[in-house]
Symmetry: C2
Subunit: 542 residues, 2 copies
């Protein structure tokens, strides 16, 4: 017997409808690519999104068409999202930091038919467009006055294109499982893989993200998503903020400390989110200038592990609460947030920081477990680590086109590729990537733990740990080190520094000094390249 409740599909346009109706005058403030800070409201943004939808439909785009965006966070980018989705299309966020060949590969794989592009990235699109056969139109997010000369025959300035519509358009309706958005993950190996979000998953994720124990955001918050919309949906804020009617502050392309600070201060931002690198720049700026964070209350830090010193600085020096979080493009992206359960809510000082080193716990809507290589579930004891697997309504069940099938099992679990442990209270901590973890005599050694320890040495600029083959133990850890300029720590210095701080059998068997460590386009250590470089390395213990 079915219930008798309304058939009210979870469609993304209902988010912007609700924002316009209940919070119509709330501002969206954007640092424009052209320069000035510009302001609009949810009411106007919805009206312009309707025009986007109307124009796209008139030009022949239809349900299921992938329409790319390559843009900074701005009101224009957001209205493009809602317009594309409301017409039944699929917004496909492109990461401009990838190599042009990689972007072209992604666009061809997705068969993008059009792209909304910021002025900043027009040269990039000019370069790769000839290689993307499906691409029929380039809509440049500016007006005619700022429209540059371009080699692209099919490029139009957004404002003039939009002005041809009157917005007299009714959102399309369709099954809530219809595709709404798309984002490719760029692993360190292999081709990028496409994640295809649905309207349902976006709406449910937006609710999960806003909950008090997740981001805990309300209509009274002023939200600055520094994390880009092309980086896993700005962690859902592009949907959560209008859902709850919070003022949005969009940073455009300027992520430096002074620019971010200006927005935090003049717009009275209470909530923000970004990767640690951005916060390093901000904290450095604050220290140099002695400026306070007057309005900011909470900062979500994810993308990579948040250093303890960063959490401490935000909390102790600026009275800003840090929420350490973890997620993946495949998870829309939120997987866990380190907010405090009552078990930990009373902690202060170092005890609190200890917990905040963890990536937190899975909210309702995310199921989580750790398993060994044979898929046996491991205990939640805060030390036994294994493969981290997740399920949920906002977690991918497959990649677009069918790549990466081995990451999904029959029970619906997605293997994140991360290695983690979970403590008795459900707090998860990432200890490594599965492909980087070192298997020594059947036991696992976390390379990240060793790296974090090594970079604590005052003479080390950067450190990476890889497994090197060993006749007896299969693999043993090799510590690869970049010394700080002018410093000359020895192998023995470094190992002595580490000794006693990790289990004896975790200690690296050797230290190798290099001038630099290879990185991916997104700034991560490229361990594949490093393993290749040290393929024939012979450990002294071998």
């Amino acid at each position: 017997m079915l219930g008798l409740m309304q058939d009210w599909p979870l469609l993304c346009h209902k988010i912007i409808d609700s924002a316009a109706r209940q919070h119509g005058n709330r501002e969206i403030v954007s640092r424009s690519v052209e320069g000035p800070i510009v302001r609009t409201t949810y009411r106007d943004l919805r009206q312009r999104a309707l025009k986007v939808a109307q124009k796209l439909e008139r030009e022949g785009y239809a349900l299921g068409d992938r329409i790319a965006t390559m843009a900074w966070n701005s009101a224009r980018h957001l209205e493009a999202w809602f317009g594309i989705m409301g017409m039944g299309g699929v917004y496909h966020t492109l990461n401009p930091r990838l190599f042009p060949e990689q972007i072209a590969w992604i666009m061809n794989h997705a068969e993008d038919r059009a792209v909304f592009v910021d002025l900043t990235f027009l040269p990039l699109v000019e370069k790769l467009a000839p290689a993307v056969k499906s691409l029929k139109k380039v809509i440049v997010l500016t007006d005619a006055a700022h429209m540059p000369q371009t080699s692209l025959a099919n490029a139009v300035p957004y404002e003039e294109w939009l002005a041809e519509a009157d917005g007299d358009f009714a959102w399309k309706t369709f099954d809530e499982n219809t595709a709404a958005g798309m984002c490719y993950t760029s692993g360190t190996t292999g081709n990028p893989k496409g994640v295809l979000y649905s309207h349902r998953s976006n709406v449910i994720h937006a609710m999960m993200a806003a909950m008090p124990d997740a981001m805990g955001i309300s209509s009274r918050d002023v939200i600055l998503p520094v994390v880009p919309m092309f980086h896993a949906n700005a962690w859902g804020l592009g949907q959560s903020a209008p859902m709850i009617g919070a003022k949005l502050v969009m940073p455009g392309g300027k992520m430096d400390g002074a620019s971010i600070y200006e927005l935090l201060d003049t717009e009275k931002v209470t909530f923000t989110a970004a990767v640690p690198t951005v916060w390093l720049m901000l904290l450095q700026y604050l220290e140099e200038t002695g400026k306070p964070l007057t309005y900011l209350k909470k900062v979500v830090i994810g993308g990579s592990a948040c250093p303890r010193a960063m959490t401490k600085k935000f909390q102790d020096n600026y009275d800003v609460e840090v929420i350490h979080a973890w997620g993946m493009t495949e998870m829309s992206p939120l997987g866990s947030l380190c907010t405090m359960k009552p078990e930990y809510a009373g902690l202060t000082g170092d005890a609190r920081l200890d917990i905040q080193q963890k990536q937190g716990y899975a909210p309702f809507g995310v199921e989580m477990k750790v398993t060994d290589d044979n898929d046996n579930e491991l205990p939640w004891d805060g030390k036994t680590f294994g493969r981290l697997k997740v399920r949920g309504p906002a977690v991918a069940k497959a990649y677009y086109g069918g790549a990466g099938k081995d990451q999904f099992d029959e029970e619906g679990w997605f293997d994140t590729g991360d290695v983690a442990h979970i403590d008795p209270n459900g707090y998860m901590q990432i200890t490594d990537r599965a492909k980087d973890v070192i298997k020594s005599g059947g036991e696992w050694i976390s390379t990240i733990d060793l790296e974090n320890l090594a970079v604590g040495h005052p003479d080390i600029a950067e450190a990476a740990v890889i497994g090197v083959s060993h006749p007896k133990w299969d693999e043993r850890p090799l510590l690869v080190v970049v010394r700080k300029p002018g410093r000359e720590p020895s192998r023995e210095d470094i190992l002595a520094y580490m000794e006693g701080k990790v289990a004896k059998w975790w200690m690296p068997d050797d230290v190798a000094f290099v001038p630099e460590i290879p990185h991916t386009a997104t700034g991560k250590i490229q361990k594949t390249a490093l393993r290749e470089q040290f393929r024939d390395y012979r450990l002294p213990t071998a």
Copy 2:
């Protein structure tokens, strides 16, 4: 094109699974009907819910079976809910305050096959059971030691019944639109009408209810739902609290000031919810004893309009934030909550109380409009009032068995039967019931506004306003008054008191004095009876 996100149906058992896994040690504290205060945890509650499901299945109950509960708020009642739902059954909450004939009618209409009943209500079930043919089993929520003599052949003590199961049971899975719960509304006229909740609507509603701008509850809250589980799902708290992992405090059958205070204080309750009557008793108790509310932070007040003086007392004298709310059984039940948007967040004193007299705004997931009798939408100007209509994923689309079809239109709007206005910021205020509003010369007069005004007169104990036929204006208001003992206000006194406080054309045409005003079983003024009583009343103006 469909998205590629996981098929993770929104099923209620996932709520208790998440609670047990992430918040397994969190307590559920209940004042038992037997007397003592008893404690369990989400982990144990889930285990017992599994046993309920297992036992029910073994005894032949199956998907779609309606299984009634007639019980106070307690851990046992909650585990019965999750057990029934997890087996695929439909929990059907019975309101013991209705007349026995009405309850029997409801049980027959729903075809309840079993009932979980508190000791308190066993005599009531004994009385009505013979009239309910579908009823095969009575499970008395106690143990053998407390099991009384009963005339019911098919009654068993819950604990012994449960002990026959080992809990080795896997929750059933099914479409998320499967019926999960049922509750009948008891209007002032006609037969009760059944609302049939689905798993999906319960889960979505639980998320909506917990959001920061709705109830704003977290795992660190201690939640006391005074509002009964048989009163529109305890306003969703039976699902929201385990979803977020908050400690629950269940009051059992004792709603008097001293009993509620004891729980608030000893269990350090931070959040509670009930109708104004309960809070009148509590506030009176606090005033008599001079006791403080040390831990309580927020109280949700709904069910009927919250008097301004009550809001003021909670906030000014006890530093407890009041959230005025409105909902209906048909809405799962939340429709609006009066939390503060930034437009109002800075208000204090009387200006804040003015806003808090409103029932608040519709969160994402509730669409709301007011219309005239011809279904034309009325402006949000804070004064034009009309029929209040709603849509959403947790709003009914029909009543069980098809009654009340005229309340639902083709566009999915449910006519609430309430009359309200909405202000430019989206804040709705109920001004009357549609069937009570007085239509005078084509314009509407709110009887509730007039009643609220009249009871402000120091000599009036209770007041009701009804429309009486008038040759020129169709209807004009008649004020029906019960005087306070020993007081003798005259017609002229009362009208003089009201004059200048409402529009001139709203002023009652006459005042009638009565010894008492008729009420429904749930304590509401029975205006149908009153209208019947004054059917032939001739106004002096007629």
